[in-house]
Amino acid sequence: MTGARVLRRVAPQLLTLGAVILLVSVYFPDFYQIVYANDRLVGIPIDVVKRGAPVALLAIGMTLVIATRGIDLSVGAVMAICGATAAWSIDQGFGLWAALGLAGAAGLVCGLWNGILVAFFGIQPIVATLILMVAGRGVAQLITGGTILTFDNEAFAFLGSGAVFGVPVPTLAWILTGILFGLLVRRTALGLLIESIGINLRASTLTGINSRVLLLAVYMGSGFCAALAGIIATADIRGADANNAGLWLELDAILAVVIGGNSLLGGRFSILASLLGAMIIQTINTGILLAGFPPEFNLVIKAVLVIIILVLQSPRLLPRLGFIRLRRERDEKPSGTPVEAGK
């Protein structure tokens, strides 16, 4: 995609993000202040891009899964499994690299499991990933032995709270992963193939796309992103909490993808827009705290936001309203599919 087209694609998300930041800075004028102290950048925007890291990482994998007309409910539980694996390896004295390797492998295996259920057994993605969502936390507790497994390893903790050239490591992690996945799907034909199996799995298979392997790869990618998110969450608190690590983050990740304007009915996707969606969610979370609202308003505001975005993206309302030119162009293609997919 050329620069202008990318910009046009993410314009609604940029506008929303701008509006949210503006709203927050009305309540909290110091929002934009960033200072350099103790070898790192400090400021609220930095805090947003750091704390938003787990959701942003999950959103990268989730975007690809949703583009294939799937959904991955298990990412929160996979985060817990991978975090527990990493903490366990450190605890056993395997060292940093073994811990990272094992955690990454655990994420890939979880993704492989989901992928096999979806691609080879033909189970609906929402059902297939539900199994791991339910059982995954049990597995994570099995690894930690039911306790919160804490560890003392500076090198590993660096991944959660360290900084490189002043930028927090979690921020670097999601930005680099985003670029890596973006290049992988857009500089090769992979992205196109993923979109095509999302639009019509059968037709794509008949034209010779190896949709099974592709689906496996997409779910494994999502598992890998969940592993990265789990490692960062674990390193951040220097302990693996099997019960609470990544709890309900799958919903935030799906929300980020939806706010990013990606259709849940599969097809065209934009990782950049999903990442912006993740940042919008985090800005709202941080903003509500800064504005002095009690945090219990957080969920209600989030719900209202989702409803507004739903109304704007509704395939049934849009043609009638002729809303924004930008959006109509994008939604022209999949019109008609919602009825068949209404089930």
Binding site: I71, V134, V300, A303, I307, Q313, G342
Partner: protein
Amino acid sequence: MTIRALPLYATIAIFLLAYLICYIQFPAMLSTRVIGNLLTDNAYLGIVAVGMTVVIISGGIDLSVGSVIAFSGVFIAVILRETALHPLVVFALLLAVTTVFGAAMGGMIHVLAMPPFIVTLAGMFLARGAGYMLSIDSVPIDAAFYDTMQDAYYLMPGKGRLTLLGLIMLASVAAGMIMLHRTRFGTNVYALGGGEATARLMGVPVGRTTVAIYAFSGFMAGLSGIVFSVYTSAGYPLATVGVELNAIAAVVIGGTLLTGGSGYMFGTLIGVLTMGLIQTYIVFDGSLSSWWTKIVIGALLLMFILLQKGLLRLRVSA
């Protein structure tokens, strides 16, 4: 014997087999006390699963129920604390609120043509947030009427207590069975689950049915919230997190197809009891850790989904 009913028979067989294994190891498992507690402890889950069964057979999903149960508890507790209303009046108010809430979600799903998953996700945030706004802390309930309800039970032979809560659950399942299998609305639900376009062409009022389905689920979630508040004597906005997942799991273990269009209400009751049985077994055993519950439920889910997939293939080839 139809192929369609096979998952139901499989569910019942597995439940009986599991109970037999438990009985051989711990003969006390068959006492009416254990059975009575099994019904009481899982009453709120059973009630909410009745609503979920209807939603899932229609091809939808309702993620909001866990939050609605928590909201109900806080709503009841706060109103009882602030006013002198009789609990029954508060219950009626609450059921009206949750039913309208469910109907609104159903309306959005139909009018906006959005996936139920995302709409009820927004509902989940909204109900949980509304609960937080009423109170962040746990609010105790001390109404005389609550004590009466908690002490209402029928003493079965063997000193097991068939409590009011357990009875409400059994009554809900019975009502759900009649509604799903014996009324026009039930038939419409199955038709909708079979395919929306087909249902519309057959003359099913799609919009009205969708709204009614989610309104019913909201009503059952409210009723479940009442039962849960009687069970715990308190309202806490952080309670029942993830109950929607347990309800979905119970429905699937009960032999209902998650793609919609096929399933039985009775199976859901067995699904709930099977999940309760696993927990009871872990309590009896004493050395097993609680996380095994999750793993076993996950394994059961997988087994039933694969079984249904196999049966579906069997039906297509037959």
